[in-house]
Structures are given as structure tokens and as C-alpha cells.
Symmetry: C2
Subunit: 147 residues, 2 copies
């Protein structure tokens, strides 16, 4: 079994994708993060899920989450509006998260080694610099445990 048998199309965002749009992609699909691609479609890095919240949550709440409870509930529910106008490039962790990349011939063991080494539940699969899709930890475990 090779990466080509396990990969699935994976939604991507660009550096200039608005953060609320990225949040929508994460919500509607059950994803551990989003692959960030450059203008040519080549993967650059990963935007881990929790990072889409970071720009929307006021700094004083992040320093002391218990303070968030003093915000009235109606406003608390709409906190994501705080990310309006922000873009994926502003939400990326610093330093950027390493997105493991391999080619369609990678074996299951190589995919697992990449995930274990980079602590990533996702490996991007490219051919000639173009993103073909991604193999998730779920897809890998599903197939390995069924074998």
C-alpha cells in the first residue's frame, strides 16, 4: 500500500484567505488543519485548527481564560467576528508548523515515520511540486488496522 492509495483531496487556503473563510472550511469538514499553498499551488505549511481562533480571541482572554467569563454571553457567542479582516498569513504560528511532504510512492511505514517525527496528523502528497492531496492519520490507521 502506497501514499497514492491512501490520499484524499484536501482543501487548501492561500496566505491571503480570510480567517473566517478558513474557520468555515475547518468547521464543515472534520479536519486537523488546513494546507496552506502558494500561488503555484505548492504546499507551504499547515494552519493548525486552533490557530484560527487565536486572532479572534482578545489577548486578555488568552492570558487568563477565566476572564472571558465576565464578557456577557451574547457577545461571547459572536467572538469570531474579531477575526474579520484578518488573513491566514496573520494566523500562522511563529515559527511556522512543518508540513511533512512526500510523493505518491511513499509506503505506509514512511508515512507513519513522517507523522511520528513531525507530530503531524497529516502528510501532503505532491507530484512535480503540485499538491495531489493528503494522507491523514485516520486514513492511515483505518487501512493498517483493517489489514
Amino acid at each position: 500500500m502506497r501514499a497514492r492509495d491512501l490520499l484524499a483531496p484536501f482543501p487548501t487556503v492561500g496566505l491571503d484567505t480570510p480567517v473566517p473563510e478558513a474557520a468555515g472550511l475547518l468547521a464543515h469538514q472534520d479536519l486537523p488543519g488546513l494546507v496552506v499553498v502558494d500561488e503555484t499551488g505548492a504546499p507551504i505549511t499547515i494552519l493548525p485548527g486552533p490557530e484560527v481562533l487565536r486572532l479572534a480571541v482578545p489577548a486578555y482572554c488568552q492570558d487568563d481564560p477565566a476572564l472571558a467569563r465576565v464578557v456577557d454571553e451574547a457577545h461571547a457567542d459572536t467572538f469570531l467576528k474579531g477575526a474579520n479582516g484578518r488573513r491566514v498569513r496573520d494566523a500562522l504560528p511563529d515559527p511556522p508548523r512543518k508540513l511533512p511532504v512526500t510523493d505518491p510512492d511513499a509506503t505506509v511505514l514512511e508515512l507513519a515515520a513522517l507523522m511520528a517525527r513531525t507530530h503531524s496528523p497529516l502528510v501532503a502528497v505532491t507530484e512535480d511540486g503540485r499538491l495531489l492531496g493528503a494522507v491523514t492519520l485516520q486514513a492511515l490507521l483505518d487501512r493498517v488496522l483493517a489489514a
Copy 2:
């Protein structure tokens, strides 16, 4: 909206749960990780998904994942057997990953602040030290974006 409205039962493992059993839980449910609880059922930490692979992948492959390709494909497909006999306590990252914990009254903003601060897509919700369930990033985004 409060944590009590967003939480869902969440599968847990103990420190002595075998790693292959933890891998099975991760595969069959689409989870970012597993909540590790002590003998009393109180949450201790989180076992992030990719860590279940770490003990199963030989060290030389993790150092250089390309070396994994020299292992023949049939053996590569069964690499998870390498985790047989290992337990969750052996698979935990060092230092342990911080699992954010809150109570059922936490607001959406507080949950988001906890996720943003700890880079965790998961917040455990406890009452009197007992785990009630967890709020995932997905559940939070689904509800916030639908509001």
C-alpha cells in the same frame, strides 16, 4: 451558549491501555487525540494522535523517513505490530501535552481562549473532578458559525 451545550462524550484511555487499542479508538472515531484519565476517571493529559505511531515506527525510520522505503511493502503495511505490548504511558510525549480543562459553565469565548492558548483542538469538561465529556474545535466552530 455554554460548555454544557457543546460537550460530547469523549472516549478515554488509561495509562495502562495498550497502544494498539488506543490506535483503534483513534481510527474508528475521527478524533484529534485521546483523553487520558487516572484511576478515578479524572483527566490527566491528552495523547495526541500521531504519538500512537511513534512507538511502532523503528527509530532509524523516524530519523530518516526515506529509509522506510527500503523496508518491503508487506512488512511496511504491518508496522503497527511494533507497538504490541506497549502502553499509553510509554507513548505520552515528554513533556506531557497540557489538556485544557474547564467546567460546564464556561462560555464559548472562554473555550476558544483555552484552545487558542494551549493550541489544543479539545477542552475537557469536568464537574467535581469527573470528566463529563469534551468540547472539540469542530463543535465550537459549527455552533459559532451557525449563530
